[in-house]
């Protein structure tokens, strides 16, 4: 969970940094999208590195889901008779929504790929003009709202995931106790804020 989650977390951060180039205008943003395909040239052919990264991500995603299903099944089996009531006093909203949050994120990612990578559900998809595709999609407010909700879920998932990973990998030692939750929360909030800024800018007419 922690290792594949870590890989996916790196992607979430890198994807955000790349996406924020949308604020630099269509030339920069489209050049960035094209740049992803020509990374490593001339050693690698066009799109090779991109597909290598994509295959690692895809493998990580399915390994993450496979591990999550295993953990969830083990936990459900472990308590066949439910309590009438179990008071939760220490856990967080983020920790309790990891499972359904994960499902929401997965559903969202499928839609997101159909919208902006394959263009199947995009209102006016132009291959190569990612700036145009993004603006066209986010100008529909339900799409933007769904995106914002999904990014809040991503933030919660990252918050619990980050500090959990420190536990699982045994990286967390006494000096980290004081700040691990704060740092995880800060990073997660920054991720959500960064992503949410994009549809808000489109709806607000800043990015057109």
């Amino acid at each position: 969970m922690a290792v594949t989650g870590g890989i996916l977390f790196v992607f979430v951060v890198a994807h955000l940094l790349g996406n924020l180039k949308v604020f630099q205008g269509p030339e920069h943003f489209n050049a960035y999208a094209e740049g992803l395909r020509t990374v490593g040239a001339p050693f690698f052919g066009r799109g090779w590195v991109l597909w290598m990264v994509r295959s690692v991500l895809l493998a990580s995603l399915f390994a993450h889901i496979w591990a999550a299903v295993g953990v969830t099944r083990a936990s459900w089996r472990a308590r066949p008779v439910a309590y009438r009531r179990l008071d939760l006093v220490e856990t967080t909203y983020a920790a309790r929504t990891m499972r359904w949050g994960g499902v929401i994120i997965f559903v969202y990612v499928v839609y997101h790929l159909l919208d902006l990578t394959f263009g199947r559900v995009n209102p006016s998809f132009v291959p190569g003009d990612v700036y145009h595709n993004l603006v066209a999609s986010f100008q529909r407010w339900p799409v933007s709202v769904a995106y914002i909700v999904a990014m809040v879920v991503v933030g919660l998932h990252c918050y619990h995931g980050l500090w959990s990973a420190l536990q699982t990998l045994g990286l967390h030692r006494p000096p980290t106790v004081a700040w691990r939750r704060g740092v995880a929360g800060g990073i997660a909030a920054a991720i959500t804020a960064g992503y949410v800024a994009i549809p808000l800018a489109v709806l607000g007419g800043v990015v057109r």
């Binding site: 009438r84 220490e90 536990q167």
Partner: protein, 259 residues
């Protein structure tokens, strides 16, 4: 004080259980929770009814025998307190209390509030022995233990194996118990020779017993009557990864030795 109890009654391991209501109109706030059940049981016996079965032994919070979930909280509402050390002054007059056994597949109910916790014993057994010099006692200062290690080992060794961590965990995971047991030996020089093998075998036994998987909710820590921190779970994970990476447990198996 007047209390209304809804107690889980279950005649045997395979019988169906249900809550039964009992009114105790004259409880004293100075009674411990177990004394409340004693008084109630005495009345049940006088009425020729079956008394409520519950585990208890030392009644001073150090043996780990007692434990029940009271209104959704293992060992009741007070932090760092076993059921036997919980007094009725922790509840308001007229309170309605729902009392359930620990619920986990690895802790099957034997009767009423008594569960079979031998899964914990098997995890401990899987840990095996430690190599110590027997015979005459060694000079106390011949093995130096840094103060902070001794303190930390003591914090872990405070675990009384009551099972509240499993009961409180939304996943019914036993990570805190195993973490405490692995850490208290792992922090001390006497625990070093078998350290790698011990953590791997204990975790394997924990999984075999059917406990759930830890997802870092931290509920175990809140329920623990000995206030054991989930920092020990990070330490367990670290020890486990190191042990697997060292190859020692695998080597021990390959050579036919059990450690």
């Amino acid at each position: 004080m007047r209390l209304t109890l809804h107690v889980w009654r279950q005649a045997g391991p395979r019988a169906a259980g249900r809550f039964v209501r009992y009114d105790v109109p004259d409880a004293s706030p100075d009674m411990s929770f177990l004394e409340l059940l004693d008084v109630l049981n005495q009345r049940l016996i006088t009425r020729r009814e079956e008394p409520i079965a519950f585990d208890h032994d030392c009644r001073e919070g150090i043996c780990g025998a007692c434990g029940m979930v009271i209104n959704g909280r293992p060992h009741g509402p007070r932090r760092a307190t076993t059921t036997c050390q919980l007094h009725l002054r922790s509840f308001r007059d007229g309170a309605e209390l729902w009392i359930e056994p620990w619920r986990a597949r690895a802790f099957p109910v034997l009767k009423d509030l008594v569960v079979d916790r031998s899964a914990f014993d098997r995890v401990i057994q899987a840990g095996g022995f430690i190599s110590v010099r027997t015979g005459s006692a060694p000079e106390a200062n011949s093995v130096a233990v840094p103060k902070q290690d001794a303190d930390l080992a003591m914090d872990a060794a405070a675990c009384i194996g009551c099972g509240a961590c499993v009961a409180a965990c939304p996943n019914a995971s036993a990570m805190l118990f195993v973490a405490a047991k692995v850490s208290h030996l792992g922090l001390l020089p006497q625990g070093q020779p078998e350290r790698a093998r011990r953590v791997v075998t204990m975790v394997a036994q924990m999984d075999a017993e059917g406990f759930g998987a830890c997802t870092n909710h931290g509920e175990c820590m809140a329920a623990c009557p000995k206030d054991i921190s989930i920092d020990f779970i990070a330490r367990l994970n670290r020890d486990y990864l190191k042990a697997v990476a060292s190859g020692k447990p695998q080597a021990a198996r390959a050579n036919g030795g059990d450690g």
